[in-house]
Symmetry: C2
Subunit: 318 residues, 2 copies
Amino acid sequence: MSISTFKHIAVVGAGAVGSFYGAMLARAGHKVTLIGRPAHVQATKRDGLKLDLASASATEIVYIDASSDLSSLQSADLVLFCVKSTDSASVARQMAPHLAPHALIMSLQNGVENSALIAQQVPHAVIPCVVYVATEMPAPGCVKHHGRGDLVMGTMQTSRLQDSQQTLQEIVKLFGSAQVPVQISKNVMAELWSKLLINCAFNAISGLAQIQYEKLAALESVRSTQTALVKEVIAVALADGIHLSESVALEAVAKIALTMGSQKSSTAQDMARSKPSEIDHLNGFIVRRGQALGVATPVNQALFSLVKLVESTYTHHG
Amino acid sequence: MSISTFKHIAVVGAGAVGSFYGAMLARAGHKVTLIGRPAHVQATKRDGLKLDLASASATEIVYIDASSDLSSLQSADLVLFCVKSTDSASVARQMAPHLAPHALIMSLQNGVENSALIAQQVPHAVIPCVVYVATEMPAPGCVKHHGRGDLVMGTMQTSRLQDSQQTLQEIVKLFGSAQVPVQISKNVMAELWSKLLINCAFNAISGLAQIQYEKLAALESVRSTQTALVKEVIAVALADGIHLSESVALEAVAKIALTMGSQKSSTAQDMARSKPSEIDHLNGFIVRRGQALGVATPVNQALFSLVKLVESTYTHHG
């Protein structure tokens, strides 16, 4: 397998994250198709994708193929799977009949379940990735990049990848050619859990109080609650066979408050727009997994139930 | 001591609760002075107190003395102390030099600390009361009564009351003459804890989601969180020498959701107006008392910290 093997890259679920990576690959000369919602697809086909690199104070127009039809991924060698965790199983099921037999799927999603959910629906190899990027979609056809963009990837515990090290290296080269750093991890599940842990410590709190990370971390009682959340996540991870260090985790939480101080969580953004959030796959996942493994998770349960309670008041679904 | 001993009754902190009881006593012919905020005092002196008995679909004007000066309680035999828990210590301290030596103080407040806080500031007898009433103050000079109105009272563990049973009976008669049922409890602290427990299970959740009790109780995950809150409160109470039954408590929580379904908590009302709530004396008290007694209270801590976080975003104080 060589770079030229990835002749066609499809992004399934081209929102803020998927469109960003698709655009980065397209502007480096790769053939990319964004598959997403009709409004975004139409704007992108008509005007090109507006890529606002806020960190570089530069905006580019990237001309890129777009479609709202999953049959457009028939010729794809590589699929960047970027739908919300809530939709993983159903979109993977719809995608299955259109996939080329040799296609590789990269899951660029939050949560630790997605690769397994996808692999239940398709016979293809799935590569779990941890995404470290801050992006948003201010309007259809527009992606705004706020920071980072690096990926960490690895193989699933029971991987269908043949020549896995070679394939992962090809992916590193592909993204490298588009200035996207990709790191290979021998324990990508622990990396996904570490990111989940951060999301469990920040997303619901930021959402319920509609507050940025730095203000959130300014209150000692909130930091105590974050510590309680982290301890519960670590206990569930351990029962699930993943060892995470508490001191490393608490340091990471403290660092996020400093380095991403002005951010609100994706959950906060969803709640501000009365859109269903990914909470079922963040604190909600910890609660479910804790129940299955016999680990008490009362604090994750409290935050999960509060977000669900707020979501139960929405009169429409975005 | 006879009823005629209570020749003058002063209400300190005449908000929705205090003005209601003051008005009930005044309309029964007792001499009452409301001591409260200037706007409420001026409206009451000018137009009388508008008492809206929503449950009886009737509105009455009650002519009643009012003042914003604590020196007006100099001739009071009985003081209904109705300030927010947050202000108990400071108002009791300001009240001390004006109190007649024989005056009795009834604490008509939420939380379990208030009688002790008042007794630290004055040498007088303090009678802890549990207040079961739904009232609001839609405007200065107006009190709206939604339901109930009964009181439960008793003596503090180290009581300064002489002839306590006789005095309590006199108070029962006084309020009885005003159609306010008052019950004497041999364990009023357990009654106060039981009410605190209900407040801990509902107030913060109702406030954070801005939702009525019935909708709140419709979600199973919220009910799980309420159960976790109740268990923590019971554990703290036990460490504090108060035995509360878990099954009775959970039944009471379930009943509130049914009987007070359309209500939002006082915390929800405060949060909707960006006013500081009593959370420090509800879930916040459980956290502090738990810390002092070595009882873990992570779920009360989580809700407490979220309400404090929301309050930290207020730009003004009501």
